[in-house]
Symmetry: C2
Subunit: 212 residues, 2 copies
Amino acid sequence: MITIYHLGVSQSDRVVWLMEELALPYNLEWFDRQESGMAPPEYKALHPAGTAPIIRDGDLVLSESRAIVDYIINRHGNGRLQVGVDQPNYPDYLYWMSFRDSLQGNLMLQLFLKSARPDDPAVQRAGLFANDRVDRQYAQLEDRLGQSDYLAGPEFTAADLINFFAFTTMPLFGGPGVDKLPNLSRYVQRVSQRPSYIKSMAIAGPDAKRPA
Amino acid sequence: MITIYHLGVSQSDRVVWLMEELALPYNLEWFDRQESGMAPPEYKALHPAGTAPIIRDGDLVLSESRAIVDYIINRHGNGRLQVGVDQPNYPDYLYWMSFRDSLQGNLMLQLFLKSARPDDPAVQRAGLFANDRVDRQYAQLEDRLGQSDYLAGPEFTAADLINFFAFTTMPLFGGPGVDKLPNLSRYVQRVSQRPSYIKSMAIAGPDAKRPA
C-alpha cells in the first residue's frame, strides 16, 4: 500500500486527493512544519529532494508531484484521470500538466519579490518579468475556462488536480486570488464540490489538523 | 511537419536535439532576442505563454518543454527515448523528467538573487532557501551519476535531454558549473559526444547563428 508522507500545509495534499479520486487505499504519515515554516529534518531525510510531496510504495520512495501523479495513475490507477495519446485533447492534457510547474515557479519568484526592497533595481526588473509571466498565465486560465469546463477538456483530469493548489492555497500565502476572474472562480467552485476533494481537504488540506 | 520556433539563446534548442535524436524532419524558424534580452513581440505572440520553446504541428501550437517532448515522443516518435510503465526504472524516468522543472525554478530564483542587494534580509532568507535546494539537487545529480550512466538508468532517454540545458547553458548565465562534480562532468562529456547533440547545437545551440 502507498504511504503518503504529508507535510502540513503543503502540496502533498494533492496526493491524498488523487488517491481519493482513484479510490485507492493509502497510509498517511503526518509531519508538521518547524516554527520557521521549513520542513522538519525528519521530513527532509525521507528523500534527497527534501520537498513535499513524498510517497513510499514498497522499496520505492518518490518525490515531485508530477512524477508521483503519473506513477500512481499508470501503475495503480489503470491510466484513469489522464487523456490518452490518441485522444484529440492529448496535447491539451500535456500542456496543462506542465503549466503547473511553470506557474508555480513564477509565483514563487513573485512571492519572494513582495518581501524584498522595492527600491532595488534588480527587484524591479525581476518584478516586471515575474508579473508579466503570471499575468499571462492567469489570462490563459481565464480564457481556457471560458471555453472548456476543465483544463484538459470536457472531463476532470489530473491536469485539474495538479494545478488546483495554486488557486486555493497559494492565495493564503500571498499568491493571486481568483475573485476577479469569473471563469476561473466558477471552475474553482465546481472542482471544490467534488466529494473526493472535500474528503481529502478534510484529511490533509490547509485547515486540516494532524490526526489524534 | 513540425515547425520549431527557435528563440536564440533559449531552451528551444532541446527540441531541435530531440528531433535529431528521433531522426524526424522539421522546419526551424529563428527569432533573435531583443537588446533587453527579452523575447521579441513576434515570438511572444506565437503562443499565450510567450516562452520558448514553442512548436507548431498542423493547427496545434504548443509550448512548455515537457509537454512538447512528451507530445513528439508519443505522437511522432513511437515512444522512443522514454521508459515504459512496466519497466523497473519507470519511476526513475518520471522523477528525472520532473527534476528539471524543480531545478530550473530554483536556479531562476538563485540567479535573480545574485543581482539583488545582499544586505536585504528578504534576499538573505531567499538565498538560504534557494541555495539549500540547489545544493541538494546537484548532490542528487552527482550521486545518481555515480550509480548510473544516464539519469533514468543505463540508457540515454528524454530525461537526460530535458535536464541538459541546466548543465551546459545555464552556467553561461551565472548558473552553477559542473567542474567540481566529477560524475556530472563525465556525464556532460559523454552526452555532449552524441552526434545528434553536436548537430543540434551547431544548428540552434548557444553559439549558433541565425541561418543566412
